[in-house]
């Protein structure tokens, strides 16, 4: 029995569609996604909802799952995500290799940080397996794997010392910002695009705000005022993005990361603006469900099958990049790619649910 359309699945579906568009650089429709007017993008939403989903999974029935059962379920989820990541990256690398051969252009082998895999395969393959080498646009699943590996600890702290969960998370975040701590990449010299030590806060915020008690309860009670406060926060953030205004980074005091706008470190300004966005758009779903039920149901279906849709979407966006390069696309090709991509994502979600229904019918 599939879940009825709900706000979490709906916004997750929305995030998946915008991620598909944002992962096709240069495509005409990218300018209409919210990252062009806000500091945050769909990645923040995706991680936040993952934390929210974890809370519902652990406490959804109104009763917290036993620790051993939590550990089993979350470990299984982390392994599934890891396997999905490896499979998706393998297919992506093969797509790049095929495209480079067919189009006789070896530069394609360098797209999205893939050069190391083809020029230094021994070390790069070790890096791929240990998540120290990641392809651009395929780097959110490694973060998700790390978060799921840490999820049993989140569940444990939530069960034993609930009030400490957010302070612990904030402390890790603050330390990572103050001392610029991030995971290194290897063999390519660099750092993780999504710093797990910072992004864990987005995940934990999703978790604690989903609870019916503590901070979650407080926020629900004060939601009206929080929404009022969020309007100027959102407006200022949008103005910063549009105007490019920001204090001179060379003169801001240490620790500088507190004043920078960074996706890697999901710095405070980005985080605050994202939370303001959540406060405001969270009121939309009931109206969308009433006025645009087909769209609400469609996006919810995508959100219910987010892992499958995300993996297929990542590969489709790479395919779209190759097609755009090969055919030197304009707006017509871009439109075809968007419509085809959305239909394929919808088909992926539908097939996933059809498979679940068949399995359920068989008993």
């Amino acid at each position: 029995m599939v879940r009825r359309p709900n706000a979490i699945d709906f916004w997750r579906g929305f995030a998946l569609l915008t991620i598909y568009i944002n992962h096709i650089p240069g495509i005409y429709f990218d300018r209409f996604t919210h990252r062009n007017v806000l500091m945050s993008d769909s990645a923040d939403l995706f991680v936040f909802l993952a934390g929210w989903g974890l809370c519902l999974m652990l406490n959804g029935t109104g009763k917290t799952l036993p620790v051993t059962q939590q550990l089993y379920r979350l470990s299984a989820r982390a392994i599934t995500l890891y396997a999905a990541h490896l499979l998706t990256m393998s297919v992506a690398l093969a797509m790049l290799a095929v495209a480079a051969n067919l189009l006789e252009n070896t530069l394609i082998l360098e797209w999205h940080n893939a050069a190391e895999v083809f020029s230094n395969p021994v070390n790069a393959h070790i890096g791929l397996v240990f998540l120290t080498h990641q392809l651009g646009y395929f780097d959110i699943l490694p973060l998700y794997v790390m978060l799921m590996l840490a999820a049993p600890l989140v569940g444990l702290i939530n069960a034993k010392i609930q009030l400490w969960l957010l302070p612990i998370s904030l402390t890790i975040y603050a330390l990572a910002l103050c001392f610029q701590i991030n995971f290194r990449t290897w063999p390519a010299n660099g750092e993780w695009f999504f710093n797990p030590l910072c992004w864990q806060l987005v995940f934990v915020l999703g978790f604690v705000l989903a609870r019916d008690e503590g901070l979650g309860k407080f926020v629900r009670r004060q939601l009206l005022w929080l929404r009022v406060l969020s309007v100027p926060v959102l407006a200022i953030g949008t103005w910063v993005v549009w105007s490019g205004w920001w204090p001179d980074l060379s003169v801001v005091p240490e620790p500088k990361l507190l004043f920078l706008i960074s996706k890697t470190y999901v710095t405070p300004m980005r985080l605050v603006q994202f939370l303001a966005l959540v406060a405001i758009v969270s009121l939309l779903f009931p109206y969308l469900l009433r006025w645009l039920p087909r769209m609400a149901e469609g996006l919810s279906m995508l959100g219910r099958n987010s892992l499958n849709v995300f993996c297929v979407g990542s590969l489709l966006s790479l395919a779209a990049q190759i097609v755009r390069y090969a055919l030197e696309g304009g707006i017509i090709l871009d439109s075809v790619l968007i419509v085809t991509g959305f239909l394929m994502l919808g088909l992926t979600a539908w097939l996933s649910e059809w498979r679940d229904r068949v399995r359920a019918d068989r008993g």
Binding site: G26, L107, W111, A188, S250, L260
Partner: protein, 267 residues
């Protein structure tokens, strides 16, 4: 960043010494040159290095004897296919072995396939955190392939150049890659032109990777066993490395004002 074999190091020293042979006499007199070891006969093709502009922030760091920090960013600046092609080491060794007491640190933040808009964001972030004297930015190839609107691309370049200037960091821009199949690609060629135009307008040092790799291709296609198409980029790196070093040396030593004093060479 000590990551190369002895053979690779000797080879790079040869490249450097060859490059320095072209630096005007008064500069040569004050630096200790490694012994020439081949690879010095490379002449930059037309368009690869059209104008040499000063690098005032690097020169200032040199004259005060402070650490020279170099940020390499964008789509794999000179690539590092194999242990002997380490670009960071090349620059670091060149400066440290030729100028007495010089302390060089290369911060490598290049990501293969990266687009200009993304690297422009990272440049601001990395410059704010690392405060380099010089930024080496490989840009354009993947914007052209992704068909980023060319006016957006130019705006990104111009804004970043202005931002770097304001924040006391010199820039060397490294142009597009070369591929035979892209010689007649109008869109790709227009990105080459826009980089040339922008760097000329803004008086930014530009090194043409395309021209270097094209020359390698042209020479090697006349050989008995023509080069594999997958090798062109790699061999082009050698030419490119030579010209980057040459451009930096010329800018730093040949254009020096009379009242400025060079750091003393190693004995």
């Amino acid at each position: 960043m000590k990551r190369t074999s002895a053979i690779g190091l000797a080879r790079w020293l040869g490249i450097i010494s060859g490059c320095l042979a072209l630096v005007p006499g008064h500069a040569q007199a004050q630096v200790a040159l490694p012994r020439p070891m081949g690879c010095a006969e490379f002449k930059p093709p037309a368009g690869m290095l059209e104008a040499v502009y000063p690098l005032p922030n690097v020169a200032r760091a040199l004259s005060t004897g402070s650490k020279i920090k170099i940020l390499t960013i964008g789509a794999t600046t000179v690539n590092s296919r194999g242990p002997n092609r380490d670009y960071s080491l090349l620059i670091e060794n060149y400066l440290e072995t030729t100028v007495k007491g010089l302390d060089v640190e290369v911060v490598d933040r290049s990501v293969s396939g990266e687009l200009a808009a993304r690297s422009a964001e990272r440049i601001k972030f990395e410059v704010a955190l690392n405060e380099p004297s010089l930024v080496l930015w490989q840009v354009g190839t993947f914007d052209a392939m992704a068909q980023i609107p060319i006016h957006e691309f130019k705006t990104t370049l111009t804004k970043t150049i202005h931002w770097l200037r304001k924040h006391n960091a010199d820039l060397v821009m490294i142009g597009l890659h070369y591929q035979r199949g892209l010689r007649n690609n109008g869109s790709y060629q227009s990105f080459r032109k826009i980089i040339e135009q922008t760097t000329a307008e803004e008086q930014v040092l530009r090194v043409g990777r395309y021209e270097a790799e094209e020359l390698v291709d042209r020479i090697q296609s006349t050989m008995a066993s023509p080069i594999d198409k997958f090798q062109i980029n790699e061999n082009g790196h050698d030419c490119l490395s030579q010209v980057i070093v040459r451009a930096m040396a010329t800018s730093l030593f040949a254009k020096r004002a009379p009242d400025q004093t060079l750091p003393q060479p190693k004995p």
